[in-house]
């Protein structure tokens, strides 16, 4: 179970404090999933950062009774001097997993060939995201955090991610954030909408979608 209790996050800007998340509450049971819809700048990625533990809430708290992944396919923690294999070893050490049985899986899935043992600085964009996704799948978690915008790649790659995540790991919980209602509708059993810092919960994805659609009427952006 993960429970977000009254979580708020404010950031300092030059024009004073800005509240990105405002008293957000959410509960997710083991094996269940939820989609969070929100337009650009609604605070989706901020919520993911709080959930992964990269940032602290300004107030409120998050209770985690299951293991939570780092944001799926997040490649920002790669160091350019490290090889793909080094990066695998690193995450395995951090999570206390033996890396040896995983080498062949990651090597195969990332399709890096000889580059698996070359520094990441020599990788193309596509190679980076394949490695990032493969590493995310190498460590087992109870709950996956997925920021849809982070998972980039071609159609075939998306299909393989789909099989790995939503078919082979069907029993896991996940939280998926996206600005795209069709993605949420495809994968999630329920949905919430993040709008102006507040999280609105809905029974069905359709209700969430209707609300989201209503809010999507273009409003002048406050600066």
């Amino acid at each position: 179970m993960i429970e977000i209790q009254n979580l708020s996050k404010t950031y300092r800007t030059r024009l004073g404090e800005r509240t990105v998340l405002d008293r957000v509450n959410l509960r997710l049971e083991r094996g269940r999933n939820v989609g969070i819809l929100g337009c650009n700048g609604a605070g989706k990625s901020t919520l993911i950062r709080m959930l992964s533990g990269a940032e602290r809430p300004t107030s409120g708290r998050i209770i985690r009774n299951m293991s939570v992944s780092w944001p799926l396919a997040f490649g920002g923690a790669f160091h350019t001097h490290l090889t793909g294999l080094d990066n695998l070893k690193f995450v395995c050490r951090v999570y206390g997993v033996d890396y040896k049985p995983l080498v062949s899986y990651v090597e195969e899935f990332s399709e890096l060939g000889v580059y698996f043992r070359e520094p990441v600085s020599h990788y193309s964009h596509g190679m980076l995201s394949r490695l990032a996704f493969a590493l995310s799948m190498a460590i087992e978690f109870d709950c996956f955090l997925i920021d849809e915008a982070m998972v980039v790649g071609d159609v075939r790659f998306h299909e393989r991610c789909h099989v790995e995540l939503f078919q082979k790991r069907r029993d896991r919980a996940f939280i998926l954030v996206s600005h795209d209602a069709s993605v949420i509708k495809l994968y999630c059993e329920r949905a919430c909408v993040l709008h102006q810092g507040r999280l609105h919960e809905f029974e069905t994805v359709d209700e969430a979608y209707a609300f989201y659609d209503e809010q999507m009427v273009p409003v002048p952006i406050e600066v």
Binding site: R49, A54, E55, R56, S67, W70, H79, F90
Partner: protein, 260 residues
């Protein structure tokens, strides 16, 4: 108890993972690789020992210049490098915090651990090497040297935690640290013995905690060749204050972290 043990286990695992990562990213796998961690401070110390010897400095205490330089300059490297590598360390490693168990304090402790290990290795290797070719003698009281060295490591840890986490608040901290470190070097006890100084100056410089450790280490190394001035209780208090302020600042810095 159970959960404390588990926490320590995780922390140990994370620190080990970060340390290996840091060694590869900093030194690579080519030529000496991880040995640079010790080689770099050794080169520094040798250079300083060479310059001081060539300049014909005399201190009249019957101590070989090489031993004087090794005990002094290794001490400087310990606190100076720990702090330098900790400033902006949190910022540089911010993406690692996406892994739940990696905390900003782990990032700082990793860098401190490596610098302390490097300075210690350099000190040990140089001492054994010069003793084996009989340029210097081995310490008179090795336990006292080790004790002083541990106090100095603690000092370096506290100072690095404080400056390292403070640098997360403002870039001014790092800008001020550089000149401060530079100015502290001649004052830190590395290049003089307190006993040579006139009294008002000596008491003024003894406000600096690291002077006490250097004096203590040198007494352990050379024996009572001069009168050494130190108060290890005072240094312990300074170290405690630095450590606590460092830990508090890390906590405050955590609340301000903005990941990418």
């Amino acid at each position: 108890m159970q959960s404390l043990r588990r926490s320590l286990e995780i922390q140990g695992r994370v620190l080990w993972a970060l340390m290996l990562r840091e060694v590869i990213t900093r030194f690579g796998r080519h030529n000496l690789g991880a040995l640079w961690l010790v080689a770099e401070p050794m080169i520094f110390t040798l250079g300083v020992a060479g310059v001081w010897t060539a300049a014909g400095l005399r201190h009249g205490a019957g101590i070989p210049m090489v031993a004087f330089a090794i005990t002094g300059y290794s001490s400087v490297l310990m606190w100076r490098n720990s702090v330098s590598h900790c400033s902006h360390a949190i910022h540089h490693n911010i993406s690692l915090l996406f892994h739940r168990n990696v905390k900003s304090i782990d990032v700082l402790l990793t860098r401190i651990g490596l610098e302390v290990a490097g300075a210690t290795g350099s000190f040990a290797v140089l001492t054994v090497f010069f003793a084996s070719i009989e340029w210097i003698t081995l310490p008179v009281d090795p336990l006292q040297v080790i004790g002083g060295w541990l106090m100095l490591s603690w000092f370096a840890t506290g100072l690095a935690l404080t400056v390292g986490s403070a640098s997360a608040f403002s870039p001014v901290v790092e800008r001020i640290w550089h000149p401060t470190a530079y100015l502290l070097f001649p004052l830190s006890g590395a290049a003089y013995m307190s006993d040579w100084l006139p009294l008002p100056l000596r008491s003024a410089l003894l406000w600096l905690p690291m002077v006490h450790a250097v004096e203590f280490i040198r007494e352990g190394y050379f024996g009572p060749v001069v009168h050494f001035h130190y108060d290890m209780a005072y240094m312990a208090i300074c170290n405690s204050v630095l450590t606590l302020s460092g830990l508090a600042l890390v906590r405050l810095a955590d609340a301000r972290i903005e990941a990418e």
